[in-house]
Amino acid sequence: MDAPVHTPGTAAAVHHRRTPGALRVLSWHLAAYRRLWKVNVLASFGQPLLYLLGLGVGVGALVDKNTGSSEVLGSSSYVAFVVPGLLVTTAMALAAGESMWPVMGGLKWHRGYHGIAATPLEARDIVLGHGAWMAVRCGLATGAVAVVLAVFPDTRSWGLAPSVLVSMLVGVSFAMPIMAFSVGSEYDGAFAGIQRFVIIPLFLFGGAFYPLSQLPAAVQWVAKVAPLWHGVVVARGFTSGNVDWTGVAGHLSFVALWAVAGTAITIRRLRGKLYP
Amino acid sequence: MAEPLIVARQLVKRFGEFTAVDGIDVEVQPGEAFGFLGPNGAGKSSTMRMIGCVSPVTSGTLRLFGMDPATHGSQIRARIGVVPQLDTLDVEMSVQENLWIYGRFFDLPRAEAKRRAAELLEFAQLTDRAGSVVENLSGGMKRRLSIARSLINNPELLLLDEPTTGLDPQARHVLWDRLYRLKQQGVTLVLTTHYMDEAEQLCDRLVVMDQGRIVAEGSPRDLIERYSTREVLELRFSAGTNSDSITGVHGIGDRQELLPDRVLVYAHDGEAALAEAHARGLQPESALVRRASLEDVFLLLTGRSLAD
């Protein structure tokens, strides 16, 4: 066997290129995704549409028939009410799932993060790269849903475009704290617990399917601590056309706070894991 | 002589078009230690799996304890212990649970299974790790646990597919000693290995397989006498010149063999062969004369010999 061609001393020249680390990590994710995207797109894009058809249209028919419901909802139809909720919850579920097992995989199973850490890139790049990747994934998934929604007159609205951006932000605001948790855990056992006791309850009680005011005050408070409801309210403002800009600023700052805090904690933890 | 414990006649295993085992005849007597040697892909594990009654025979006959695996697989498996090439331990469970739960698969009463488990922990020197989850054991510890587990049902026949791969030298010697003791208690051992010293140590009789066929059979000493000379001269030449040097040694000793990293010369008197090589002006980087071993037989039978 011949030895591979090797030219010692050329590494320094490469070092002069200055692509930001997070973008290099992002392209690593994109390369891996190229093999998976077909099934993935189908799942992350088909599911919200099925929910829309099942809950939005199906249950919506029952709700719209019931007199008095439209006052509670404050929107023309139940479908119009549910649409922004579905976009934002889709981003939440996607980002949460992608920030658990794949993150543990990068650290423990296929150890891709260790591979990256052996290059000039470091923990901060991995974390910011993951955040950017989550924004892209959520943008793709909710963007595709939004395109389909724009086809139907009942759900068509200019508000869909900013709602996709809000969904991306909410996705990141879930991805980063959950990534911090994943980086800190030794086993994947707790992930099912997060799904069942955080993500699903937020999906159900986070204001996506009915106004939070329907729920007991204590539950409302819990739901308001998480970023989901804030994102839903903002997105609903955009799709219904009643935008209250100070509200938007307040809600989005709160969402961004989660993302920033999660990022900071993850970077610290990942550093400890990669370079003990 | 007693009824053989394993009888295989013209045993064939095919995977689709591919023939992994190509008509082998094997007999193993009770109490014997029998080995399968052969290069990767020779068909050793395929044969072991048929003997273990987890892989249906494609054609030919196979009898264990006088029974047919196709109709009495379960009864046969109740009397044998299996160490597969790749561990099939239950990684979610503790060391101890692995042992007794496996015993329950043999229908041992629970108390009996737990008692056996404690004994076998001792045997495998894993008593202090009894409560550890298997996932966290080292590779060698897992291997020891696999071997211990195969003994839970007090088997009459033990099938060991590369039992010591991954064990440290210390653990290997301990295992050889344990296997030797089991053999003295009358347990029949059938094993495969890539370690020639292991085969020489443990096996009364062995077969060398290549491409699904048996190419030689006998005791380790027999095979060395039959297929090798008394001594072997190993010559190493500088990188990349081995293949040129083989012509230089042509005619020295009984036979010459080219390996990727050295040239072997088989001769009754290795020193004399070396002297001749020097006399011819060959300048190996290093030279070594040693006694012939099973490894030489193995290389001869399964490698590609260039000389002669």
């Binding site: 099934v39 088909g46 509670v72 139940y78 009915y210 | 697989g73 379960s74 498996r77 099939t88 979610e92």
Partner: protein, 270 residues
């Protein structure tokens, strides 16, 4: 115990492959293994519960009541039996797909079992039995919650338990059979994708009358037949269509069990 009833496939080899000896040992193994993960088992109960509470609190007022067979039923009473049936499906599917794939391909637990006197039929029945036991645990607790919320209408409701067992059997068998065809983890996405429409369109959240002339499509969903059974039990209303629903689920189980046993044998005994 050496029953031959599963020996349904005439194979030239390994005539003992389909003999059932002690599937209960597989269940025993799971009981020990899950001692460390009981939280996962317990948490499975909460998902349908959260759905029920959310529908009751949030959508109950908005929807008001649903008319079923001319009778007006409060929305939570309408949804609860359907959620019970769906959770029987979910539990059975998750136990018989992801977990089975893991044990089959990655943990190689079945390979270990088959080196002993156990056979493929023991493994298949043990797994399906385990899925059923777990499903019944959830069904019992869910029925308890329904009773506590005042959603149980009569003693007939107890018959929802065997109905859930039948749903569990059907979906565990289908899940198991399907898993034997999977190549890797990414195939699990197909399962989640397939279950979603079943969950949403089996007259779970709105009655078949909402589909108008498309109502027959719902009949394709096996879960719909399960939902219908549990709903009948809960309402204590029995019609002859019950027999058809039972027949569909039994037939599905039989076919899937056949495929599962046959595939498992050829997968494990190569």
């Amino acid at each position: 115990m050496s029953t031959n009833f599963l020996r349904i496939v005439p194979t030239a080899y390994a005539t003992d492959s389909f003999r059932v000896r002690r599937p209960q040992r597989m269940i025993e193994r799971h009981l020990v293994a899950y001692r460390r993960q009981w939280l996962i088992v317990v948490s499975g109960f909460f998902e349908p519960l959260f759905y029920l509470l959310s529908m009751r609190a949030g959508l109950g007022d908005l929807v008001g009541s649903v008319s079923v067979g001319g009778k007006a039923v409060p929305y939570d009473a309408f949804v609860a039996p359907a959620l019970m049936a769906s959770s029987a499906m979910n539990g059975a599917i998750f136990d018989s797909t992801g977990n089975v794939l893991h044990r089959l391909k990655y943990a190689r637990i079945y390979d270990a079992a088959l080196a002993t006197p156990m056979g493929p039929a023991d493994v298949a029945l043990g797994e399906i039995g385990w899925a059923l036991i777990r499903g019944q645990l959830y069904a019992c607790s869910f029925l308890g919650v329904m009773a506590a919320l005042g959603l149980v209408q009569s003693w007939w409701s107890l018959l929802a338990l065997p109905a859930c067992a039948l749903i569990g059997l059907a979906f565990a068998s289908v899940g198991f059979a399907g898993t034997t065809f999977m190549r890797s983890w990414s195939d699990m996405d197909i399962v989640t994708t397939a279950m979603m429409p079943l969950f949403l369109f089996s007259a779970t959240f709105f009655p078949t009358s909402s589909y108008g002339s498309w109502a027959w499509v719902v009949q394709i969903s096996p879960l719909y037949h399960g939902v219908a059974l549990v709903r009948s039990a809960n309402a204590g209303v029995w019609t002859t269509s019950i027999l058809a629903h039972i027949a569909v689920l039994v037939g599905l189980s039989a076919v899937a069990l056949f495929v599962a046993a046959r595939r498992l044998d050829s997968l494990l005994r190569k």
